[in-house]
Symmetry: C2
Subunit: 358 residues, 2 copies
Amino acid sequence: MFGNELSERKRLILKAIVEAHIEGGDPVGSKYLMENRNITCSSATIRNEMAELESLGYLEQPHTSAGRVPSELGYRFYVDSLAQEYAMTAREIEEINKLLKMKMTEIDQILVMASKVASAITNYTGIAIKPRRSNVTIERFEGFAIDSRSFVLVMMLSNGSVKTRNVRVDNGISTETIGRLTTLLNSYVSGLTTDGITLPIIMDLEREMGGDGELISPIIKSIYEVMNEIDSGELKLSGLDRLLQYPEYADTDRFREMLGALEKKDEILNLVSEAKDDDINVIIGSESAVKVMDHSALVFKPIVKNGKTLGAIGVIGPLRMDYAKVLATIAGLSGRLADLINENSLTDGEDKNGRKGI
Amino acid sequence: MFGNELSERKRLILKAIVEAHIEGGDPVGSKYLMENRNITCSSATIRNEMAELESLGYLEQPHTSAGRVPSELGYRFYVDSLAQEYAMTAREIEEINKLLKMKMTEIDQILVMASKVASAITNYTGIAIKPRRSNVTIERFEGFAIDSRSFVLVMMLSNGSVKTRNVRVDNGISTETIGRLTTLLNSYVSGLTTDGITLPIIMDLEREMGGDGELISPIIKSIYEVMNEIDSGELKLSGLDRLLQYPEYADTDRFREMLGALEKKDEILNLVSEAKDDDINVIIGSESAVKVMDHSALVFKPIVKNGKTLGAIGVIGPLRMDYAKVLATIAGLSGRLADLINENSLTDGEDKNGRKGI
DNA sequence: GTTAGCACTTATCTTTCTCGAGTGCTAACA
DNA sequence: TGTTAGCACTCGAGAAAGATAAGTGCTAAC
């Protein structure tokens, strides 16, 4: 889409600068490029090219007598042109397979574990995301008595997860009443979104329950609670400490700002919720409207099953993150996860492809 | 228990030093004490006393020409002698009441919310803890079919929480089989700890299930998973970013080390699991064996219901945290939480004491 | 036991200086 | 027209030096 206006040599130089900067973190100069990056022309020529690349917006100069640093546009060019895949080492594949062997059955745990692995392999911070899902409904209700004064309400949601709430009933409740209650809930409330549960419906429920009508109010409250829980998404970080080893986060204020935003988590969740479903998404600095990301990059991929987005895993790190490695890691991990999730009938230490270990 | 060897004046001076240091964060000198802290003797006398307090281990001197700073022992003295309670402001009480009005029913959520409030009030980092509980058992099993090939296994645990797992059965499963299965589980497995579920028991189960014996293995796996989940405790932080505003965490390496340890979380969980149940626990720096805490302090209180520890809330911050305020906050919060948990039958915006708002 | 006074210590802050990497520009060259 | 060598210039990083001031320990007087 862009980068077409660049000559072959400019591309080569730009790529070399990005890679050098990713490795070292320092601004890179013309002489260095000539000597260590196989650019076959003189430093003066490189300087000329660099000046042009800067005026085109691909490079930046921290100050007059420093080398160049890629701009966000520069990184974008690099990421978009990343053709050669990073080959995972045996150790990294091993790590992923170890994860798969654990065969957890709960999607939450799987995502968190995967993000931990991603963090370990890439040495950046891993994130596990359950996106907002505003259209989740409760498909089915069940209930059990715990004792004469409380029971467990089990709710099966349209996204496949199951939630429970303890409900306490001061006046006592019988098994028979619980049965009546769940039948009612199943016919009146199942399939509705939060907005769908209107006052008339609640009143109907209360009427139908007759003498036990006062039960309804706390139950509706529980239902709202559960649906809000799903609705609001989740964001879990792992290996946050790793970021601190990069000089770009040495400035405590910057790190603090980011931490605060990650804790609020709305912005990141929005970002992910709006993402294209089946691609790896790479968000570079201020490309997104999320202010906090200004000096960081976020790479993530949604995990999809039967067309439904169950969550996402990703990596967050400095602008100059090792995109080749990160992209390969996320691609590899998410591929395996998809296998694991779509086909959780694997039975032993072998994965679907019959490959073992390594 | 100690501090008795100190003269009244020494105590006064020590207390003044701790408070001054908590406020400002800088080493405090003799002249400052005389002029701003109402110590009614000359700076020379104060210097003499300070020298003695130092040799007794209550104070430390960063370098020769600096003032004194409390040692961990000094803080310990201060905390132990904290008689005057910090009075909560109306705003802070308001904050707590807001929390109570939300009336969440799930203990996890309650703890996390409480730790958020604690963090907001004290301006340190809040922590919500579910301690390890190695003696939890599953009290009761129930199951529902989702479709012909999978069902939900509901487990009610001895600590009152309820867990569910989705189990997939490739050969299909009938409602009747599920009923048989849960009956079996209830008679063979309920009440057992992980260690109690021995191979013979598993084999019995398989035998009893006859043709559906292959069901048992994934179910046992789910059971282990759930019990391990409970077993391993949980630790959630809130307001981590707040810590970064204190100069003691300006050193990125130190903060990083702490972050890493909080992420591993075992050590902190041990600490909490071993704590006295009904006290506010104050752990000052290296008093604990937890290395990470070397330059930090942890204040927490277990939340107990019917003699069982459900969790704990607390605050983590620099050694020079405002102990008076933190202790009062945690005491206030945990008191209210206990009310909320032991009596979750409150019905509207008024709390148990009939007090409203403020 | 307390206090005034004084010499001494030492972190911190500012200023100054040097060093070197890297640039832009000009002029020569292919 | 595109490339390269050469050179003056810029500017940040870091070291060195000096000034400042807070705070101490000690001695001697009260």
